[in-house]
Amino acid sequence: MKSTRNEPIEESVAGSVDRHTPLGLTDADVLHMYRTMLLARAFDDRASILFTQGKIPFTVTGHGHEAAQVGAAKCLTPGRDWVLPYYRDIGVVLMLGMTVREIMLAEFGKAADPNSGGRQMPKHWGCRRLKIMSQSSPVATQLPHACGLAWAMRVNKEPGVVWVSFGDGVASKGDFHEGLNFAGIHKLPVIFFCENNYYAISVPFSKQSPVERVSDRAAAYGMPGVSVDGNDVFEVYQATREAVERALAGEGPTLIEARTYRIVPHTSNDDDRRYRSRDEVEMWKQKDPIRRMAVYLKGVGLLDDEKDARLRAEVEAEVREAAAWAEAQPDPDPATVGRFVYAEEGSDGVGR
């Protein structure tokens, strides 16, 4: 497992060596992964346009994180594993089966948004059907939740793992420490997945961390820590699969750091020119994980320009259609603003 900074695309994926078959991934798998990366990107591009058009008040996107998200989520089993993705993780929830229309409902804060019915900002995931636990905005709180879910699975003898993701900024927080500590003590089947994009909004990693890698912190919790090139979907897949296997085998948690870059501002409210150079951003755009995946797929003969163009047109159409559809869906009814502060009489009670 490499733990250095990402290499330029040319070096790491050029050529035509088949990397996916040895990992047990079929051609269909990798094409689906690629398509999901494209879909995530197309969605986020569309969301940014909707924001610019003034159709939605806010958005946050995963631009640049797609390989990390799709590579990791490919290792999860929807319906078996509990998943606690963070606000950039559109690639994760797409892989788990949340539909583009569903996500678009959240973007508009519509009544039918399965995540929160328009009560939370977009990309604040949550969906019992997919075992995606509802996420808040305060960061790091979800790490202890992941431990509690893992405890319940252990006690209830339910198979599976808990996968929880977060940014590099989160590694500074108390709840990060308390969560990893508990998981380490009890060897819980939790995969802690950090998408290190080197910034917490504007604060560079060097001002957040005294150590070079987030994974350097794993040893303090008696668990393995691995750093991977987060723009390389196969490195991420391999590390996550190994972590899932360890967890399922009862060997406990793993901390994975996927080193990547957010190639756009923090959110639609942010102006990243204040805190980082255009050169730096450009340099990382050259390492765009989607381009890298395309180069790979072409190298191994699974993709050509025409097919690529078709796929891109497809996802673009899907996203446009979903946006138009979602925009036309009913807004939340103001009369519902007071509902579900507490469970309502006749609801299905405890646990819901």
Partner: protein, 328 residues
């Protein structure tokens, strides 16, 4: 019926509930091998094992956070915070997570956890082993706060808290643990959360209280009835949130006089909301200004007994206030 003190009632109810429902689990500092610094969980580890009785690291934020996750995973966790004074690191998990989980998920997720919190002064605990923390959580919709005062109420409300689909803070007054004794109801006894209890009916003055102060008010009321013929209607809030406004309003409509007494400090306390409720909904029934008795606005109970006594509301203070109101 067996007679138990508050502590014994907590423990007995925990045993009953854990036997009844295998989903119920306990977690917190020293709750296992030690049985809890107040002995509330003694014996549970032996009977229910390490899966269901968890000695956690010293880390309150994660104690509540793990409970939340375990609840979503299908268990019914009871988290113990060793002293109320140490609940503050868990405020984010309680207010931003537990209390908002149902609302933010539009009812897709609930958070059936109970947080047991020994609280209150009068045990020479000093600034950090005596605090009342109810005001800290009282402005948090989505939470329920329960503060039972008798062994029977403890059983009935602890069972209701465990059965509740939403997060409940269960306040146990430390000074009452061994001093307050009473009947412990057998079997399926349960008290719905949300209802105040009229501990004593009366016509002259309404006294609203909870916690140890309720017991002082009760003694004061009994004494005044006997000695001076003043008949107090004593309302034990029992549930602080959601507040049972109706019972308070109805009583004040009858008596026209209101005294609120609690151990938490005055400003921003539960008493303020009780007073405001009456000033909004029964103002024209009031025959006298509303009175509040509370701890003074100081950070917490100081350690030296002389200072502690100077800080805590007393039976004598309550008695005088009732008398003044009755004569008003």
């Amino acid at each position: 019926m067996a007679v138990k003190n508050i502590l014994e009632s907590v423990r007995a109810t925990l045993f009953e509930e854990m036997r009844r429902d295998p989903r119920v689990m306990i977690l917190g500092e020293d709750v296992g091998r030690h049985g809890g610094v107040f002995n509330a969980t003694q014996g549970l580890l032996d009977e229910f094992g390490e899966d269901r009785v968890v000695d956690t690291p010293l880390a309150e934020s994660s104690i509540v956070g793990i409970a939340i996750g375990a609840a979503v995973g299908g268990l019914l966790p009871i988290a113990e915070i060793q002293f109320a004074d140490f609940i503050h690191p868990a405020v984010d998990q309680i207010i931003n997570e537990a209390a908002k989980l149902r609302y933010r998920s539009n009812n897709d997720f609930g958070c059936p956890i109970v947080i047991r919190v020994p609280y209150g002064g009068g045990i020479t605990g000093g600034l950090y082993h005596s605090q009342s923390v109810e005001a800290l959580f009282f402005s948090t919709p989505g939470l329920k706060i329960v503060a039972p005062t008798t062994p029977a109420d403890v059983k009935g409300l602890l069972r209701a808290a465990i059965a509740d689909p939403d997060p409940v803070i269960f306040l146990e007054h430390k000074a009452s643990y061994r001093t307050i004794k009473g009947e412990y109801p057998e079997g399926d006894y349960i008290i719905p959360i949300g209802g105040a209890d009229i501990k004593r009916a009366g016509t002259d003055v309404t006294v609203v209280s909870y916690g140890m102060t309720m017991h002082y008010a009760w003694e004061a009321a009994d004494a005044l009835a006997q000695e001076e013929g003043i008949e107090v209607e004593l309302i034990d809030l029992r549930t602080l949130l959601p507040l049972d406004r109706e019972t308070i309003i109805e009583s004040v409509k009858k008596t026209g006089k209101l005294l609120i007494a609690h151990e938490d400090n005055l400003t921003g306390g539960v008493g303020a909301e009780v007073a405001a409720t009456v000033a909004e909904h029964a103002l024209m029934y009031l025959d006298a200004p509303i009175r509040r008795i509370a701890a003074p606005d100081i950070p917490a109970t100081p350690y030296h007994p002389a200072l502690e006594r100077a800080m805590l509301p007393s039976k004598q203070q309550i008695k005088e206030a009732i008398r003044e109101l009755a004569r008003y």
